[in-house]
């Protein structure tokens, strides 16, 4: 285009339009950046809120007592705040859940990835996704109303609130997580490795166990760790079915509070804002956050470090 014959007014309106456009572009980019940075803000806010409420708590209770005392009695006249009483419940329910979920989840993953026909896989995977979406309060109902009565038939002395039933249901809940994550990493193993194994005369089972599983092991372990992190942070199942009495015990047939169910039980009562009971749930929450954060970082590292590159 020959600008020299263009009337000046047109040039200036075009320039003005361009200028407006540039400003708009910049503003939009900035707005989008702010939305993305909101994620950073949320993380900072979580850390800030937990730490700032936990600091006055730790001025009352020394960190040494918090970590080593095994009694948690915030409502008694002699108050003890030993987080181990809550961690023991968390670990026990998590452990039971893993005993249920790891074998079932791994077998499901291997079967779906190496054995199932296309049709079976396309049917089962959506079902797994639907199960991931089931609200945990419903699983809590199952644990209390169906699984515990069933267990009581086998073992009549079992109390109504126990960690065994809660742990088993939690295990059923996390099977789909393990299955779908482990299956994803097994499917990512290139076809050539399977073909190589088959060409040597290996059966599907041999291929799955000796070739595919070792190749996908980083993803499978990461799936386990994610499942642990899920189980540690799970709230409603344990709050409903495991009882809310903080007890230092690793015995699955007893009831005990976990970190999460303690927070729920305090929140259900009258919260005195700023009181030590109020602060204690933030200290418990901080412990939970650190535990899940460490697990998530560990899972991330394993996936990154031991990933085979093809």
């Amino acid at each position: 285009m020959n600008t020299s014959v263009m009337p000046e007014t047109i040039i200036s309106t075009r320039l003005a339009k361009n200028f407006r456009r540039n400003i708009m572009e910049r503003m939009i980019e900035f707005a989008l950046l702010c939305s993305a940075a909101f994620a950073v803000f949320v993380t900072c806010a979580i850390v800030y809120v937990l730490v700032s409420e936990a600091i006055p708590f730790f001025q009352h209770v020394s960190i040494y007592d918090f970590l080593t005392d095994t009694v948690w009695t915030p409502n008694y006249s002699i108050k003890h705040y030993g987080i181990m009483a809550l961690i023991s419940g968390t670990l026990t329910t998590t452990f039971i859940a893993l005993i249920v979920a790891v074998p079932l989840g791994t077998i499901t993953a291997i079967y779906l990835s190496e054995f199932a026909s296309h049709k079976v896989r396309e049917t089962v995977k959506p079902i797994l996704e639907l199960l991931v979406g089931v609200p945990t309060v419903v699983f809590g109902y199952f644990a209390l109303m169906l699984v515990t009565p069933l267990l009581q038939k086998i073992y009549p002395d079992l109390p109504l609130f126990n960690m065994l039933g809660a742990g088993i249901v939690m295990g059923i809940m996390i099977v789909p997580y393990i299955a779908s994550l482990a299956e994803d990493s097994m499917r990512a193993v290139p076809m050539a490795m399977r073909e190589g194994a088959y060409a040597m005369g290996a059966t599907r089972f041999q291929t799955a166990i000796r070739v595919i599983t070792p190749a996908a092991i980083s993803g499978i372990i990461a799936a386990y760790i994610l499942a642990i992190s899920r189980a540690v942070g799970e709230t409603m199942i344990v709050a409903i079915a495991a009882g809310q009495q903080p007890t230092f015990t690793f015995n699955p047939i007893e009831g005990a509070a976990t970190i999460t169910s303690y927070i729920v039980s305090v929140a259900l009562g009258d919260l005195e804002h700023g009181g030590i009971g109020y602060q204690s749930i933030f200290a418990a929450g901080l412990t939970l956050l650190i535990m899940t954060l460490l697990l998530n970082i560990l899972g991330h590292m394993i996936r990154k470090k031991y990933r085979e590159r093809y």
């Binding site: 993380t43 077998i107 499901t108 054995f115 996704e129 639907l130 089931v134 809590g140 956050l289 954060l293």
Partner: protein, 315 residues
């Protein structure tokens, strides 16, 4: 095979190889059977659990159940305040999480340069997805309820669930955008479009399906979330409705409901589970069945939608 007393060594080997092959094939079959058994028993167990829930709650599936307030008498108690509360909380969640999530996803995919800022944002997003939901409840308790003074209101709960839903929307937006080939953008730039025009008129338009999938899954999760809402101290006995959002008089919209007290479906269910009387457990089962059906319908729609997109779009 001819039985021979003086069998050559080769044939003996062959025999042992055959046994080995048979053994391995048998193992193969055994594992296939075990795998099928595990999947079938899992599916059947859960199916039985859900059916049981629905059958337990079946006597309460009446119109009255949906139009009555909770009550001390289980037979006349209903979930009116709970489903209205759930809808209003989700309304807030939707209007906060969806624009923010899409904007963040678009930024990370289309605008962000590969530098430490975008690295930090990405690490944060994936971290947030792994934070237990009850931690969000504590954040909301400290920040929304007390620091911002929003109280135990619909607004607090909606914002809390929005934070929970945000990573899901961001991740699905990014995945949808990543699937759009570069030549779509190049064509738009070639005819003189600005970056935002490319993003708004093309990238976002073509990724609607994928984003919608994430939004539906996120909303389904938000319906069932209980722990964070209990943590902000939501009351469990609510026998009133929040002020209506839409009025007959101008300006037609009314925002008083945002600061109203509320209850939601999963909390109502939790409340009824914790009562000792069996009649309340029937109410809990009915509420649970409604939540399950709602989330299953939403997740099913999302899965179907994603399947259709994968099938239909060939760039």
């Amino acid at each position: 095979m001819v039985k021979n007393k003086k069998q050559p060594a080769v044939i003996k080997d062959l025999e042992s190889i055959r046994t080995m092959i048979r053994r391995h094939k048998r193992n193969d079959l055994i594992f296939a059977a075990v795998g099928m058994f595990v999947i079938a028993s899992l599916t059947i167990t859960l199916l039985v659990l859900f059916l049981d829930l629905i059958l337990d709650g079946y006597p309460r599936f009446t119109l009255d159940f949906f139009t009555s307030y909770p009550s001390r008498k289980p037979e006349i108690a209903g979930i009116l305040s709970a489903w209205v509360g759930s809808s209003l909380v989700l309304l807030v969640t939707f209007f906060v999480a969806v624009p923010l999530g899409i904007a963040a996803g678009v930024y990370l995919e289309e605008y962000a340069k590969k530098n430490w800022t975008s690295d930090i944002i990405e690490i944060n997003v994936s971290n947030l997805a792994g934070v237990p939901s009850i931690i969000y409840g504590l954040l909301a308790l400290g920040l929304f309820v007390y620091a911002f003074g929003l109280g135990q209101s619909i607004l607090s709960a909606g914002l809390t669930l929005a934070l929970l839903m945000l990573p899901i929307v961001i991740v699905s937006t990014r995945e949808a955008i990543r699937a759009i080939p570069i030549h779509i953008r190049e064509a738009a730039y070639a005819v003189g479009a600005t970056k935002w025009q490319v993003v708004y008129d093309h990238v976002i338009q073509y990724s609607y399906g994928g984003i919608l999938t994430g939004v539906i899954i996120g909303m389904a999760r938000a319906i069932g979330e209980t722990a964070p809402i209990i943590t902000i101290g939501a009351l469990t006995f609510i026998a009133f409705l929040p002020p209506t959002p839409v009025t007959v008089d101008p300006p037609f919209l009314n925002f008083e409901w945002l600061s109203s007290g509320f209850t939601v479906l999963p909390i109502q269910m939790f409340n009824w589970i914790s009562r000792p009387q069996h009649a309340f457990h029937i109410n809990a089962a009915a509420t649970g069945a409604i939540i399950i059906i709602l989330t299953a319908l939403m997740n099913g729609a999302a899965i179907k939608l994603r399947y259709n997109i994968r099938k239909k779009i060939k760039w």
